[in-house]
Symmetry: D2
Subunit: 306 residues, 4 copies
């Protein structure tokens, strides 16, 4: 495995086209595009990594998997009254579908859906309490208490978050929100700004590899059925309007973030994280996707074969 990761790292870092770093959050725009990290974690906690796998990066939308998991724990299936579970076919921040469907987001992994999830788990608390709770959960599943929020990124998002503010106010106009819009946005921008390394991220995904249990710590995070369903959501909606492409090329459930990270799951086999800041046309890590495609071709880990 180490040899495979080293080889993939050598190959993708040599590629001339590294995609384009996200520019709409100023703090992300200044990240060095020449970075690439990859990590594979086996169910027992063994990790293999290569490249910049120990560099902290902004996990951005990958955090939506964690908040959705929390929401399912707190509300159970009641969350599906507020957010759907269908791929949207639209970009991550589109408001068109939201208007057509009366303010109910298609799934929890587009921005509108993830903002709704934050409103659902906030339950009358203050933003800082909700943020602390999210952070605690991420530390628990990754078994790492050093994980923290990058405050500079959070502030940068708050100052440039008009599109997300628009989505939030839009949904609030239907009376869907239970907490003040500003509180929800505050917590949302902060959980997007969690900084993690590839290794931390791969470990955090281990509970999705083994039907809800992190076998390296022995902790059951969610039930078997719920773990499978979270994987299905990642498969169907994890890469915005590039989800079909990711399924076609990589064949694993996964979730991307505009910070350039991707967290993927090969059920029963391993969790995988990659990071490279340059994005493709729809906002997913360009080199990261290529690396995952190489990895699943070599390992045969696609869920669509055997």
């Amino acid at each position: 495995m180490q040899a495979i990761l080293d080889d993939i790292t050598a190959k993708v870092t040599a590629m001339p086209d590294k995609g384009k770093v996200a520019t709409y959050i100023p703090q992300l725009a200044c990240v060095d595009p020449d970075q690439f990290g990859i990590c594979v974690a086996l169910p027992d906690g063994t990790v293999f990594s290569a490249g910049d796998a120990h560099t902290l990066f902004s996990i951005q939308s990958i955090s939506k998997v964690f908040t959705t998991t929390m929401a399912l724990g707190k509300l159970g299936d009641a969350i599906w009254k507020r957010v759907g579970r269908e791929p949207s076919g639209d970009p991550f921040n589109s408001v068109v579908q939201l208007e057509m469907e009366n303010g109910k987001p298609r799934n929890p992994f587009i921005n509108a859906g993830a903002i709704t999830v934050v409103d659902a788990i906030m339950m009358g608390h203050l933003p800082k309490e909700t943020i602390a709770e999210i952070l605690e959960f991420v530390r628990f599943i990754a078994d790492d208490n050093t994980i923290a929020i990058d405050e500079k990124v959070a502030q940068s998002e708050l100052l440039t978050g008009d599109r997300n503010a628009s989505l939030a106010h839009f949904m609030a106009s239907y009376g869907h929100f239970k907490n003040p819009v500003d509180y929800v946005l505050g917590a949302y921008f902060h959980h997007c700004s969690i900084a993690m390394t590839c290794e931390q991220l791969a470990k955090a995904a281990l509970f999705l590899v083994s039907d809800g249990v992190n076998l390296s710590t022995g902790a059951r995070v969610v039930s078997e059925q719920r773990a499978r369903r979270i994987n299905s959501l990642m498969m169907m909606c994890g890469h915005y309007d590039g989800s079909g492409e990711f399924a076609f090329r990589v064949g694993l459930p996964g979730k991307s973030g505009v910070g350039g990270g991707i967290m993927a799951v090969a059920p029963g086999k391993a969790s995988i994280s990659v990071w490279s800041p340059g994005l493709d046309r729809v906002g997913n890590s360009h080199l990261g996707t290529i690396a995952l495609e190489m990895l699943t071709q070599r390992t045969g880990w696609s869920v669509f074969g055997h």
Copy 2:
């Protein structure tokens, strides 16, 4: 397995809500809604079946998997220039997205995409030649030369096919078509009208269980990679705007038809077909989906767990 299928059949046929039979094709509207069949085929060709598994029904959109497989064989990846591979988030016959994206359908499993696929495989032949070729292919993969087209259904579709004619002319207006619109529609309506039993359908899907090879006949139908990719397309786009729901509840790649059939694949394990004419809100078999959900819960066959 037989006991499981018998039990599922007993349970779902006892359910009061059987969904609504499709009415827009007159010939389909008169099918008895109280029918239910299920079949599981193992890689070696062993089949288990229950209920009306030997009754012929109209496979409708399930045929799109077969034509897409043919198109990939004839054109290779060039087919992706004419049709995408993303879930559409829209109903099966929507034209909205088609206009926004200049006549290129989102994927080969919505009507516009499947019509495009027929144009691609027709290659200047007459409709009856193309129909014969499609039928021959289906007989080959199912290893059954008795499979035929239900001409009454085909005529019924032709007479009531304004929506599909609209989609076809729309795409033709962009200059995308290489054959006359009427020829393409004729072949399209006919392949949708292929009649099969659950058992025939489960056998026809065996090549998708075993990475491209029908192990019961030994015939390689497509390459390993292609088989996996066809599975990924079924997972992402196989149930129209209910694809996310199917992935969430059933967790297998599958394709539905408005005749009430569903063909599903558990890679490495089995192919499964169910049929019950009553449909749910988005046009997928109501009891069929429930039966598949029961089956995967009992067998643990979801691709999202292990």
Copy 3:
């Protein structure tokens, strides 16, 4: 008036940017773009004209005013059950709104609406009968029996009419049509292919100048209220998604065609027609609009002032 028209003609024909001739109908694409005609008809039938005011051109969508007038005569307000009277905000051949509003076109001057109007006035007759009836009506209001259809243009439209065929089949799929789609399209393509000169067109509009009566012949064509309402439809919907622009710049009710003609009405004062084949971005005559803007500025004929 003659001096004004001569001066306008001199000015606009000297302009370097003449717009772009419509290319989607081959027969229209070969029209010489350097032509320009203008004609003003006073209520008593006096005409002033300049430039190529006696050259025949394809009136295209201007014919929609005539068929709508006929439909109002035949069906009265019942026509509004099948077609709306709101501006669409969309291009002339868009199908998006049609899907959102279940096959009911926004107004009779977009293609879908005009095709519906033809279905409404056809009433079980053969296309050639309907075409003859339309032609007779246009000859009557223009007081000119030489007006005829350009068969070459009609054939050219038939052969390249996929977009309109798509719209027609789309509406037919809702069960809205009372005649065969092919019949309706045949009549539609033919009335779009009527050839007229600026002078004939200005005369044909005289009944809209004088509250329903062509004062030069004494014939009452429609009631006062109906004449005013047809003018309102031209104002609101006469230039597709450039209707607001036309109202803003010209300030008169008018209807354009992709052949480059525009028919406008200054109530109580005059009817005006212009023709120049080059079109602007939204499909209206580029020089024609400029000429009308000049004319209304010099004459003060805007309905928005006094």
Copy 4:
């Protein structure tokens, strides 16, 4: 004229269906629906009125005509770089078109357009300064220094203004805004909350009757061309997606507000205001529209006849 107004008032107040009072702004929801006022102002300032023509009501979107007039004075045609002049075909608060057209509103009379106009005229000032300037302008054109803002309505709008906040943040996300979103919204909500009587409103519209001059005071407000263009905007876009209907039935440029007021202009003849709180399906005064239809039928004031 007085007899006509008295008769119309008697007829419409006797009608059982008075429409539905707007409920989304709590302060508007408690207005007594049984009120109706009408006023006609002649160019020399003579006024005829009937019913509740001296009762203050919330002018709401009618204020958009005044702010647009101000913006044209301050920026001239440069305002058209930020807002279009086409009817939208969509409801007043739709965000769909805004996304398709990259944050540029179709016209200044839908909410997104009017919010943009406020941003344009604010020019770095504080909200209270902008509000004062708008109020001063309205007092000037109506020649009445008692006109004021209803603070209760303004506060009610601020508290329930999520939809408008969504539109504003959406446009701000494209970098289109020059002032803080909260400042712009504050000024917007306040100008919508101006309270006027029918008589004040009819007088305020006099400058649009006489090509830019209020003949009763002698003050030129805008140039002749600009007055005509403002009338054209009211005609094309003054009643949201009911603009075609208003043109068809009433035949005059006009602007409605969800407070139940309508301001209309018969160029060269008179300005007219009506008020009745009950709204029709698209948000325009139900009885007000009927009253205007009666008035123009009796007076022949339609711009589409003579």
